[in-house]
């Protein structure tokens, strides 16, 4: 390592230390330890700080996101739209340098990390998308996609199950574009990793089918790190490189958990700066020659991007169809008129399970929207997520598919799937990707789902077997709290369509989405096609399906309970009670409508009863009375369970009649009418 390189590394270290000190909050330990690797990696990466979304850039994922002072320092040094002033505002309200890296707010941050295990799993998704994109569009003479994905991860990430799931799949898929560095510093928050984490990490990754490499000394051996990167690039397998480092390298407390998550003391910072050849009285210093070194790499990279632009121009000439498609995808536009492929239904069409209706949608749209790729967590035959002409995404050697395949066999790995889906979305190129499992098991992936919403990844969960209607599998598989959980996540669309048109509306919303993830909850059992539904009305998220003159009561329902509400309404009219029926397939979309529309659906003056076969939690925002299931379900035949819990036209009519009775003579205000 040259003296200049040493200075560059120390500059990274001290910027991170100064940022943490200025905030009096943050994690100086990992930046001090990993700065040499960061320097070495970024010096080999291709990227353009002025065009940070360039599709063929190499990606850098900081899976140990708490070390973000390291990443922010790199972004400043390489001239991203992040300044030294931003660094001085580290972890302050309204700054561009939040406490963990947020892809939405910080230019150059690929994925939001911090919740451990997510970053490495996102990286698997980015790598998968890169392989799929390359296999779809590269031509023998035009390698328009060939980027690598670099990952830093610590012991925390390696302990998380989500990382295990994603890493196992990456090994199976032989995603050799992943180059991960394990920061082996023997320290986590609880102290030495020997208190809880003594497994043979490299042995485990070898068992997953990864290429394993080791650097002798991560604190000093930049050449070794560079050589490891070169070796990794030649591997047929994903690579993990053990990087032994000293947490808090150079600090008086180096090698202890004391430097993990607390600022260094003032005198420690001073001795560190002196030790590193910096002025102990100055902060946030960037030596001129370091700026020049990094500018040089940026200039070289500018040439790399220019070359790519020329390559792509020639590609478009030689392959105009593919070229136009790539261009369209990079612009984020869907194929013109794609939505005409969405199926529509009339009440004369036969009853069909919404999971099956979902399959019909996919069968129609997958051929016309090439950026749709999907998969399932080992429930393909139950989720009905694989259309007949989809090819599996597999390494070609397996003879089970190839890298241009659009169907991903995730295995029984829901959390890994969720994080990988986020990575696929983060790759870019307008990927719209979905993953199937039972609604109940979306919960396994809760950590990834909230990050989809926070990071605006428009991924879609095809969540079948959405209620007690699944029957015999019983309470362990029947969602009760799941919709409440998901509906409470900001920026998450949670659709529960009631029939074919609503299912098409759900997919229309999901596929057109650019910043909102979707969960589509689908039945195992058949549902009739409703009179009055359409893609258009369902696209409002909530609408009146049966409208009466001066109704006595409104029954608001979702999914499989809408048809029951319709039948209940008919029963009630026999008793002289006029009941409107409202379908609310997606709370988030309904909440986005203007208030006058919302109040036209759920007006003042009429008591509202909600009906849904799961927890009533949250339904009181739309209703005065709630009929649901605030207990776990039961194992038995689906229809028998519905009957047992009273979710029948008679049962619902009875609750509605009681609602009418109770509110008779009382002033009734719509729950949507609010004081502020």
């Amino acid at each position: 390592m040259s003296e200049l390189e040493q200075k560059a590394i120390n500059t990274i270290r001290l910027l991170a230390v100064d940022a943490v000190a200025a905030a009096n909050s943050g994690h100086p330990g990992a930046p001090l330890g990993m700065a040499p690797a960061a320097h070495a990696v970024w010096q080999t990466m291709k990227f353009n700080p002025k065009n940070p979304k360039w599709i063929n850039r190499d990606r850098f994922v900081l899976s140990n996101g708490h070390a973000c002072a390291l990443l922010y320092s790199l972004l400043v040094l390489y001239g991203y739209d992040l300044s030294i002033e931003d660094l001085k505002q580290f972890r302050q309200l309204g700054s561009k340098t939040p406490g963990h890296p947020e892809a939405l707010d910080v230019p150059g941050v690929e994925v939001t990390t911090g919740p451990l295990g997510q970053g490495i799993s996102n990286a698997v998704g980015i790598a998968l998308a890169q392989k799929q994109f390359a296999a779809t569009y590269n031509k023998p003479d035009f390698q328009i996609s060939d980027s690598n994905i670099f990952v830093f991860l610590g012991d925390g990430c390696l302990q998380e199950g989500v990382a295990s799931e994603a890493s196992s799949l990456a090994g199976h898929l032989k995603l050799n574009n992943i180059i991960a560095f394990w920061d082996d510093n023997h320290i986590s928050i609880d102290g030495n990793t020997n208190v809880a984490f003594t497994e043979d990490v490299l042995g485990r990754y070898k068992a997953y089918g990864w290429n394993i490499l080791e650097v002798e000394n991560g604190n000093t051996d930049v050449d070794g790190i560079t050589k490891a990167i070169e070796a990794a690039k030649k591997s047929d397998l994903p690579t993990i490189i053990r990087l032994p480092t000293t947490i808090g390298f150079g600090s008086l407390a180096e090698g202890t958990h004391g430097v993990h998550g607390a600022p260094l003391k003032a005198d420690d910072i001073k001795q560190l700066k002196t030790k590193f050849g910096f002025n102990p009285e100055e902060s946030f210093v960037i030596p001129k020659e370091v700026t020049e070194l990094y500018n040089k790499h940026v200039s070289e990279n500018q040439q790399v991007e220019n070359d790519w632009n020329k390559l792509f121009a020639a590609y478009k000439e030689k392959y105009p169809t593919e070229g136009a498609e790539v261009e369209r995808r990079l612009s984020g536009k869907l194929p013109e008129g794609w939505e005409k492929s969405l199926p529509v239904y009339t009440p004369n069409d036969k009853p069909v399970a919404t999971r099956k209706l979902s399959e019909i949608v996919l069968s129609n749209v997958v051929p016309v929207v090439p950026e749709i790729i999907g998969g399932s967590a080992d429930l393909t035959g139950s989720n009905l997520t694989r259309t007949t002409d989809m090819v599996d995404f597999q390494h070609p050697d397996t003879k089970l598919g190839d890298y241009s395949g659009r169907y991903i066999r995730y295995g029984v790995r829901e959390h890994g799937m969720g994080a990988i889906m986020n990575g696929i979305a983060a790759f870019g190129a307008n990927y719209k990707n979905y993953g199937g499992t039972f609604l109940n098991f979306v919960s396994y992936a809760a950590g990834a789902v909230r990050l989809s919403a926070l990071s605006h990844h428009p991924v879609t969960w095809v969540a079948t077997h959405d209620s007690i209607g699944l029957g015999e599998d019983g309470p362990t598989h029947q969602p009760i709290e799941t919709l409440a959980h998901l509906r409470a996540i900001p920026n998450l669309s949670v659709w529960r369509p009631a029939d074919g048109n609503e299912t098409s509306a759900a997919y229309k919303s999901a596929i057109e989405s650019t910043s909102t993830p979707h969960v589509i909850a689908l039945t195992r059992q058949n549902l009739p096609q409703l009179e009055g539904s359409s893609i258009e009305v369902a696209s409002k998220g909530g609408y009146t399906l049966i409208k009466q003159d001066k109704p006595d009561v409104i029954i608001a329902a979702s999914g499989s309970e809408v048809a029951i509400a319709v039948d209940a309404s008919k029963k009630l009219s026999e008793e002289g009670i006029k009941a409107n029926v409202v379908s609310i397939p997606d709370f988030l979309t309904f909440d986005k409508q203007d208030q006058s529309y919302q109040l036209s659906v759920l007006p003042d003056g009429v008591p509202i009863l909600s009906v849904e076969v799961m927890s009533t939690f949250g339904w009181s925002k739309y209703s005065h009375e709630q009929f649901g299931l605030n207990r776990f379900g039961a194992s038995g035949k689906g229809p028998a369970i519905y009957e047992y819990f009273g979710f029948t036209p008679e049962g619902v009519a009875d609750k509605a009649a009681k609602t009418v009775q109770f509110y008779k003579g009382k002033d009734v205000l719509s729950p949507l009418n609010k004081a502020f």
Copy 2:
């Protein structure tokens, strides 16, 4: 294997096949493949079908819970309180043989399984508890606890991250009482495991520090299985045994995923019965000699239990203190007067963060309640879950603790921790166990948390850093939807105490609980001790803290927002508005109070405003207006974020004033007043 053994195995197989056929639903494949191992394992196990909770029984965990027809058949054959008639009612509503094994409903089922990966992780918890119990009470001449934990698991469980987490920890802890059988049948729902799961499973477990063994042929080699069990019992490490089997062994479709989750066809069942030497026209047949074989084992086991009873009687004589303590714990009674150790506070006591108040509770109760053990997912110093005199639960060779230690270093493994906690509770002996993490990361463990609630495991999550108040770590760490998610789970107590007395009340509820799991959400920031709080009133789950004569408005809040509401109430009185303040530390407990009490807190005639710094979802069940945070948080100093979002006395007073204004002249019905 003797002819009789072969007949016994085939009896198990055919009972399972007949049960699935009768239900026309279920999973015949794994029972057909694993019956030989089931026979071999149960013939070595010590247990008493008439006393299924005997503390020193060996445990059997069917982690691949969909194979429950296998387990139910064994329970019938060994004479548990489950009959052939129950088996005929497999998967029917109201039966004792639900679609997946439920510990609560089926005598002899140790833990509820079906959601993949949970069973093996529960087994790690059972094993951990056994070691802790044995190390605490065994004496050189009295091995009162020495049981083993047998586990069956399939490829599905092995792909789940939760199983990876728990298995890694089991290896670290050297829990050599675990003997797991991997049903290596190469089939999952998506077909051959080669589509998604090609890792070297035994290599991975070796890397975790497990003893790995293989049986040559799991379909036929009962002696090999028995020998493997003997070898496993001699190991110093947990053991996993690769058991190559043929899914659906004997069926015409054996070896395919067609036999995984669908009943066999009638003619297939007939040929199977003929092949196995049974009458093809008969169903649910138990040959007399098979009954005798299994009865013999039960009789031998009765002697084993009798011997144990004698041993324990002698133990009590020689070690009366320990004997009495064990006896008390087995009776499920807490130590007399333990609750006197709970701290109480007055308004003169200084402001303290509830995470710190939680630490004070633990410091007081851990010494007087020996069945309390706990840990943290690598956030010990932040969760404050380790009291100063706790010893780590570690293998003694590590010199970091020993097996009688009561503090578990879970590592960064939240989901594994949740499932292990369930296992510890399932062991028995009145274990009250807790695990710490940030509230936001309880979501990682959602799959385990809902099973705690479903299975009535009284475990406790110490969930600190419970809101935007955590500050700089930012949106990735700040819960928004988390409380809504948890509150919507049936039978889950979700406490968010507002001060010291409420924290003590939360722990009182948790420690006294025998069937309800608890989450205790705790602040990072300091909170004042409230005037009017007490353990007694807080134990109602909701109560009036500030009571005015003819109030204009009620402000209902939880946790850190209660003190803000109190200050808002003072501000409002300056403006001539009388505001009651209600604290609702736990929805579930409040919901259990009689309606007249509830209505005394939230009466008709007064508009109610709820205040909580996270999703308002669900609060409309208690309030007319909701002030909360229906978006993700922000990175910055905690107080600055509170201010930014308006969670200040002024901000709350403003919302309250608007609420009063809006409802002026309107009839206001308490949201607790319901039509049905």
